[in-house]
Symmetry: C2
DNA sequence: AATTTCATGTAAGTGGTTACATGATTTG
DNA sequence: CAAATCATGTAACCACTTACATGAAATT
């Protein structure tokens, strides 16, 4: 454990919701942030420990009847301050995505056109599946959100981002495939 | 060093071009693959060692007059086979991008509208800069590419991907900003 | 004479996942 | 009673970056 990284802030942010334990943080991320943020227990528990060490949150063991003991974390004023400070600062740099399909395509002169085409078709299919997932999540949010639910609004914003970017990638697949197919015919 | 990872294949791919040393591989990546693939010397040199160990390439020290000695790597038939095999296999899964701006936006109910708006504007500005970079690279490729240059075609494909996806992200910024601004007015 | 470019490499550190260990309670 | 879910944690491993060490030649 080193310093304040994005994972720390992500957990700090989640602690402002009703999720207060390592286990429920994981669930929250898997359900709500999954399309742009993933995290494993191997990060969550050490980070929670770090957060307490830094005085950003306090732990209290909740002994509920029926279920196992739970470590519940509550943000301290310092924790809230730290989170808000991070939220207010613009991101330092755009995420640099590694893209395996672009890497394969880049070395395309080493392959046959058919191989490249099937690579692109496979990629497009995966993007379409992702798009369908986004759409069904969106529908689920719209169906169960009450009017004044602010969280669901922000959730929809992030989903919209995913949808727009995925749509653009699918379009690119179509355009690129088109170029390969006309090249094959000629 | 463990096994065959994407970095290994990336380097194998570059070794099919005129780049045959660690130093020139780094240059190649910085010049041509930078928008979807980055790599450091700390990866390149150990990976080259691994590639030789696996019999995918051979090293020969080239003593050029004037410049320092250079370790030149040449793919073996096994190396070519390994690369081609990787190129032919579809990608296993879509890259899962972590997106800091979406994370910040997600916790937006913890901020003022003005903060969110300036966050989005800053992000949009960064995307626009990226777009301009793509455009000028594209122009440079078009200007200096000869008709039959296959590499430049594939290069343009990957750039087109970057442009389309960035365009979509900029659009999303506009749409989302619009929603915040109308919300502020009401 | 100083700086940049060419060239190769390593050690330490960061950020992360996977697999494992443990154990209670609930549901089928 | 077996399986799933709830719950917390760690050790090993992987991928990668940064900073450093070295040194020669070219450029300014």
């Amino acid at each position: 454990m080193k310093g304040y990284n994005e994972t720390t802030y992500a957990i700090l942010g989640i602690l402002t919701t009703d999720c207060r334990s390592g286990y429920s943080i994981k669930q929250f991320i898997d359900r709500s942030l999954n399309h742009f943020w993933k995290i494993s227990y191997g990060q969550i528990y050490p980070t929670l420990k770090f957060i307490v060490q830094e005085g950003l949150a306090e732990v209290h063991t909740a002994t509920t009847s029926g279920k196992p003991d739970k470590n519940e974390y509550t943000l301290t004023p310092k924790g809230i301050e730290t989170l808000r400070n991070w939220l207010e600062n613009p991101i330092e740099q755009l995420p640099a995505e590694r893209n395996e399909i672009l890497l394969k395509l880049f070395f395309g002169r080493f392959q046959t056109s058919e191989t490249t085409i099937s690579l692109l078709e496979n990629y497009k299919q995966k993007l379409q599946t992702r798009m369908e997932t986004y759409q069904s999540i969106e529908q689920a949010i719209i169906d169960c959100a009450d009017e004044n639910d602010m969280d669901s609004m922000y959730w929809l914003f992030t989903l919209d981002y995913g949808k727009k970017v995925t749509r653009a990638a699918i379009d690119w697949c179509d355009v690129t495939l088109e170029k390969f197919i006309t090249k094959e015919e000629s």
